[in-house]
């Protein structure tokens, strides 16, 4: 009997290979080989020629050029990192908040859900670029003044209300760039709200009932029940948000990589893209290490 059982398991395993075979062929051709090639490019001086690319080994020169000589790369890198650092927590907190609200029962909930998921279908495309003020491909009108997004400069209003005018230009500038964007972070929360919503619906009824019997307030319920059950999804959302911000083709590093690619400097652009990717991996790794200690797993 055990021998028959083994053969059944083995047979099933073979079927498993069958199911992933199509993907594996594709991944080999469209992912694994290109990844290795582009890694190789980053150590080479690549010039396009008819029928092929002419490759010359130059060692670390591309990386040196990206970090030492290139005037913009390091600055762009820090700006993207900084932006991600302050936006990610806000996006996470905000989408958890929205998810909790639209998980409650109230009139017009379906409509509210439809509106909150609307960014999912718009925010990745060129429409989003246009409504945030990026009118032209030739770069003549890149300023925020053409943005048609809802804007309210709450900090300035507040400061004026209190009666402080221009107490520190730099600080005011930082604050106002943050707050003018803050409302429009709603536009980056679609997927995260969906993920949190599904996590919220996974909270078992027994936990809710126990909390109700013990007389937990909504506040206590949030900290002791909701947060615990949602914590695995916080990790998922953190990683998703970071990846999404980092790989967004409209962020400055990606724009630079692309424009260098358009100038046929494949080696340099590959070196930039790879060092950028390495940084993303390190950031994600750190977050994994920290979050794994805090997360609560049911069962």
């Amino acid at each position: 009997m055990p021998r028959l059982n083994l053969s059944y398991e083995k047979k099933k395993g073979l079927y498993g290979y069958g199911f992933i075979a199509l993907w594996f062929i594709g991944a080999l051709v469209f992912f694994i080989v290109p990844v290795i090639q582009s890694f190789k490019y980053s150590f080479e001086d690549v010039t396009p020629d008819i029928g092929a690319l002419i490759e010359n080994w130059v060692g670390l020169a591309n990386y040196k050029r990206a970090f030492m000589t290139d005037p913009d790369f390091r600055r762009n890198l820090t700006s993207v990192l900084g932006q991600t650092a302050w936006q990610t927590p806000i996006i996470i907190i905000f989408s958890l908040f929205v998810a909790i609200i639209i998980n409650q029962k109230f009139r017009g909930r379906t409509f509210a859900r439809a509106v909150f998921f609307l960014p999912v279908i718009i925010a990745t495309g060129p429409v989003y670029a246009i409504i945030t003020g990026d009118l032209s491909t030739s770069g003549t009108a890149d300023a925020d003044q053409f943005s048609t997004m809802f804007s309210a400069n709450m900090v300035d209003e507040l400061l004026e209300f209190i009666g402080i005018y221009g107490f520190n230009d730099k600080l005011t500038e930082i604050l106002s760039t943050m707050t003018s964007d803050i409302l429009n972070l709603v536009w980056k929360c679609g997927i995260q709200i969906i993920i949190f919503l599904s996590a919220l619906q996974g909270i078992p009824t027994s936990a809710k009932e126990a909390a109700a019997i013990e007389g937990a307030t909504a506040w206590e319920f949030f900290w002791k029940i909701t947060l615990a059950y949602v914590s695995p999804m916080i990790l998922v959302n953190l990683v998703y948000t970071i990846i999404d911000t980092f790989t967004d083709p409209t962020n400055v590093v990606m724009e630079q990589v692309l424009s260098i690619q358009d100038d046929w400097k494949y080696g340099l652009s590959a070196a930039m893209a790879w060092s950028y990717f390495a940084i993303v991996l390190v950031v994600v790794g750190i977050i994994f290490a920290i979050m794994n200690k805090v997360i609560y797993y049911d069962n």
């Binding site: 099933k12 395993g13 079927y15 498993g16 290979y17 069958g18 199911f19 992933i20 199509l22 993907w23 594996f24 062929i25 594709g26 991944a27 051709v29 469209f30 992912f31 290109p34 990844v35 090639q37 029928g51 929205v98 609200i101 639209i102 409650q104 109230f106 409509f111 439809a114 909150f116 998921f117 609307l118 279908i121 495309g125 060129p126 670029a129 246009i130 409504i131 009118l135 032209s136 491909t137 009108a141 053409f146 048609t148 997004m149 429009n184 709603v186 536009w187 993920i195 919503l197 599904s198 996590a199 996974g202 695995p232 999804m233 998922v236 083709p249 990606m254 590959a270 893209a273 993303v280």
Partner: protein, 368 residues
């Protein structure tokens, strides 16, 4: 009945209790009479008086929050919805105004000169109907194909044990993490100098140029490597893993092959995941201009046309810059283009949103 009788003999008290219980169960609970608000309040006060101070505090607080929270919530939801809808409303009003309206500070929402000429210009510039057909062909077709292939792959990863599974799944994770920009040039070279079975060049001395053809989109989709395929495989894996194992075993016992099991047992049970993935896939293909810029030189998708709308406007409508249009005035044409390009997908969303918004919460996402 006999058992009860025996019990009654043995222990009269227990018999009495069980008899009472049976009587109580038989009686229907009395219906609560309707009370006015005033009575309700007095009842609440009476009840409060019998409770401990801590309980009183809790109940009072709960009553207060129950009264205040819906109002706050309504305001919050309304405000946030407004923030999201605002640019769309503006898009609709701006698309139907003349360019001079943009310089008129008294016009914020409603135009005084209603016109459809922007829309017409945008349709002409974007070659809209032709482009729409082309985009639908690429994006709906690729999405359908990709959903099927990703589902197969996800099922393979979710329900089978085989050697090297973890390493291969690591590749899927890497596909999610890796920005598409890194691997674009090798992919471009692959399509530009396409060499079927790696012997075509050796035999004929030529390459096949696939750039500007739909093959560049279909081939990755067909092998579950299209736009954001890693994420979709991941979603399918989670969703299939969360289905009970008994489903599968029953099908195997009835003599179904794994493929048959997948089609007739697993797929119907993962309907909401299929819908979610299909919608996201359509949307991401529709919105993509990044991958398609690399593989198409003539702008044949909606997203690409919109991305290059200002350049094409200058060429076609403004007669190579003979008509001077400043950036603020350009907005009316751009918004008209935006409106055109989101309308099809918005319509699809409106039709499917009920299933999407209610079904997504039940999809495989929870199993992550």
């Amino acid at each position: 009945m006999e058992e009860q009788a025996v019990q009654t003999k043995k222990n009269p008290v227990l018999g009495l209790i069980s008899g009472l219980l049976a009587k109580y169960k038989a009686e229907k609970p009395p219906k609560e009479p309707k009370r006015s608000r005033k009575e309700e309040r007095e009842r609440f006060k009476k009840r409060l008086a019998t409770l401990t101070p801590a309980e009183q505090k809790y109940l009072k607080r709960k009553q207060f929050i129950d009264a205040v929270w819906p109002v706050c919530r309504a305001l919050l939801v309304f405000g946030l919805c407004f923030v999201i809808i605002y640019p769309l409303l503006y898009m609709i009003t701006a698309a139907f105004r003349t360019r001079s309206d943009m310089n008129d500070p008294t016009i914020i929402w409603l135009t005084r000169h209603f016109t459809t000429s922007n829309i017409k210009d945008a349709i002409k510039t974007m070659d809209f109907w032709h482009t729409l057909g082309n985009t639908l062909f690429i994006n709906i077709g690729c999405s359908l194909v990709q959903v099927l292939t990703c589902a197969l792959t996800g099922y393979g990863f979710g329900r089978f044990k085989f050697k090297g599974k973890n390493i291969l799944f690591g590749v899927v994770i890497l596909m999610i993490l890796m920005p598409a920009q890194i691997i674009l040039i090798p992919q471009y070279m692959f399509f530009r100098y396409f060499n079927p079975l790696w012997i075509y060049h050796a035999v004929t001395g030529n390459y096949i140029n696939l750039i500007d053809t739909a093959f560049t989109m279909y081939m990755p989709a067909l092998t579950a490597n299209g736009i954001r395929a890693g994420l979709f495989i991941f979603l399918f894996r989670q969703s299939f893993m969360s289905l009970p194992k008994e489903l599968e075993d029953a099908a195997y016992l009835d003599g179904c092959s794994p493929m048959r099991t997948f089609v007739s047992v697993m797929v119907p049970n993962a309907g909401s995941t299929f819908l979610t993935v299909f919608l996201l896939s359509v949307v991401w293909y529709w919105n993509d201009y990044y991958v398609s810029t690399s593989f198409f030189t003539n702008n044949s998708t909606i997203a690409l046309q919109l991305k290059n709308l200002d350049a094409s406007l200058t060429r076609i409508i403004f007669n190579n810059g003979n008509v001077k249009v400043n950036a603020r005035e350009l907005i009316v044409w751009m918004e008209a283009g935006c409106l055109l390009s989101i309308t099809p997908i918005l319509l699809m969303y409106i039709f499917l949103q009920k299933y999407f918004t209610e079904g997504i919460a039940r999809s495989g996402l929870t199993g992550m």
